[in-house]
C-alpha cells in the first residue's frame, strides 16, 4: 500500500520521535557543567558519581527493588493459582470471577491508590513499603493472571491428562508438569510485574511517608528544577528497566524456540 521509501521514512521519523527525549536524557547525564541542557560540555561522570553517593537515591533504589520483586512474586503466585483453577475447572460463576480479577485494569492508579489510602487510614494501618507492595499486587494481578491464563490451553491440558493417566497425583502434576511447562511465561509475568512496580509513581507517592521508592525520590528532586544529576538518576532507572525487558524477551524467545 505504501511505497517502500515512504515506509522507511515514516519508520525513521517515528523512531526519532520515540527516542529523542530518551537519547537527550542519556546524553545530558554525562554533562560536564551545571546546566542540564545544551550546550553539551561532557562527557563526564561527575553527575553519575553524585547520584551514586546520594543516600536518598540509593535508598530509593533498594526500596523500589524490594517492592518490585516482592509484589511481582506475590502477583505471579496469586495469578498462577487463579489462572490454573479457572482454566482447569468450569464454574457457574466463572464469568463473574474473571470480571472481578480483571476489573482493576479499568481503574486509574490514582483512584486505586487513593482508595487504599482511605481504607488503610480507616483501619489505622500506617503508610509503608508493605502497603505500597499491596497496591502494586492489585494493579499487576490482572496482568499476571491474563498472561498465565492464556498459556493454559488444551495443549497443556492434554499433557497434564497424560500424567494423570500414568498415576500422578494432583500436586505432582502441578509441580512437575504444569509449572516447568509454564516456566518461561511465569518468569515473563514476574518480570513484567516487577518492571511496572519499579516504575510506578502515584500509588507509591500516596502510600509512602518515610521510606520512599525511586520514582518518588526523582519526583521530589524534580521540584527543585532540572539538573544533570536528575538526568543521571533517570538514566539509571531507565537502564535497570531495560535490563528487565531484555531478560523477558530472552525468556520468551527461548520459550518460543522450545515450542517450535
Amino acid at each position: 500500500m505504501v511505497g517502500r521509501f515512504a515506509s522507511w521514512a515514516y519508520l525513521g521519523i517515528a523512531l526519532l520521535f520515540i527516542f529523542l527525549p530518551v537519547l537527550v536524557l542519556i546524553q545530558f547525564s554525562f554533562q560536564g557543567g551545571m546546566a542540564p541542557v545544551p550546550p553539551f560540555d561532557g562527557p563526564s561522570l561527575r553527575w553519575w558519581a553524585k547520584v551514586m553517593a546520594n543516600r536518598k537515591i540509593t535508598d530509593g533504589l533498594w526500596n523500589s527493588l524490594l517492592v518490585g520483586l516482592g509484589s511481582a512474586f506475590m502477583a505471579t503466585v496469586l495469578g498462577f493459582l487463579a489462572a490454573y483453577a479457572m482454566a482447569r475447572k468450569r464454574r457457574r460463576l466463572s464469568g463473574l470471577y474473571q470480571f472481578l480479577l480483571m476489573a482493576p485494569i479499568t481503574v486509574s492508579y490514582l483512584i486505586i491508590g487513593m482508595g487504599l489510602q482511605i481504607f488503610f487510614n480507616h483501619l489505622g494501618i500506617g503508610k509503608s513499603l508493605w502497603v505500597i507492595g499491596i497496591g502494586h499486587v492489585v494493579i499487576n494481578l490482572p496482568l499476571t493472571f491474563a498472561i498465565l491464563y492464556s498459556q493454559l490451553g488444551e495443549h497443556q491440558a492434554n499433557i497434564e491428562r497424560a500424567a494423570y493417566d500414568l498415576g500422578a497425583s494432583d500436586a505432582r502434576v502441578v509441580l512437575e508438569i504444569t509449572v516447568p511447562m509454564l516456566w518461561p511465561s511465569l518468569l515473563a509475568a514476574f518480570f513484567i510485574a516487577a518492571t511496572l512496580s519499579w516504575d510506578e509513581f502515584v500509588i507509591a507517592f500516596l502510600l509512602s511517608r518515610f521510606d520512599v521508592t525511586l520514582p518518588v525520590v526523582i519526583w521530589s528532586m524534580l521540584r527543585s528544577g532540572l539538573s544533570p544529576e536528575l538526568n543521571a538518576a533517570g538514566t539509571l532507572v531507565f537502564g535497570i528497566s531495560i535490563l528487565a525487558v531484555a531478560l523477558v524477551e530472552l525468556l520468551l524467545w527461548r520459550a518460543r524456540r522450545n515450542r517450535a
Binding site: V2, I18, L81, Y97, T106, I118, A146, S150, V245
Partner: protein
Amino acid sequence: MKTLSLKSWGHLPALAWTAAFFVLPLIAMLLMSLSERIEGRITLTWTFANYQAFLTKAEGTFVGALINSVEVTLLTTVLSVLVAYPLAYILAYRIPRQWQRLVLVLTVLPFWTSYVIRSYSWLLVLSENGIINQSLLELGLLSEPVGMGNSRFATVLGFVHFFAMLLTLTIYANLVQIKESYRKAAADLGANSLQTFWHVTLPLSLPGVAVGAFLTFVLAIGDYITPQILGGSKELLLPQAVMLQLGRQADFPLASALSMVLMLVVTAAFLLSARHLKMGRV
C-alpha cells in the same frame, strides 16, 4: 483429598486479594465521597454536598477540569492511533518476519521508562533552553527561544509519545494475526492494494485499535504525572484537581467525589466501546 485439589481453590486467594484491596477500598472511597468534614472530623452523613461542590464550587473549576481532561484525552487517543497505525502496519508487513520481534521491542523500548522520567525528559527537549530551541536558534530559524513546556501542547505531546507505543503493540499484535490468504484473495478478486487495505485489513484490525484506544483513554484520563510535569498548573486536569484536594487541603471527601466522577467517565467509555473490545485477542 479431591476437594483440596488446586483446581478447586486456586482462584480464591486472588479473588480474596482483589476483594480486600480493590473492592473494599473503592467502597470506602464511595462512602468517603458521601461524608463531610465537621470540625475537622470526617463523618459519614450520606450527603451529596461534595458532588454539588463538584458542579458549583470555585466558578466551575472542577467541571472545567473534567472538560479539559476529556478534551486532552480524546485528542491524545485520536493522535496516538494516527501515529501508531502506520508504524504497526510497517512493522507487520514491511519488515522481514524474523526481524519483526526485535524491531518491535526496540521501537517500544522507551515504553518501559518510568512515567516520571519520560515526562521529565521531554522538558529537556521542549523548554526554552531545550534542544529544539537551541537547534533552531543556532540554525538562525528563530531569533529568540519559544517556551513549549507548561502548555496543553506539551501534555498532549508527552501523552502521544507514550500511548503511540502502547497502540503500536496492540495494533501490531492484531495485524500479524490476519491471515495472508485474506489479502491474497482480495487481490485475486481484482482489488488494488488500497482497496484491499480499506475493505479487508483495516476492518479486521479494528479490535486491536479498540483495545489500545480504550487502554489509552483509561490511562490518560487518570494520569497525574504528565499534565503536572509538562502541562503545569495553568489549566488543571481532573487528576491534578484530585491531588490538589488531597495534598494542600487534605479534603478527602471532595477528592473522593472527584475520583468517583472520574471513574464514572471511564465506565461510560468502557460501556460505549465494550462491543468492540475483545481483550483476549491481543
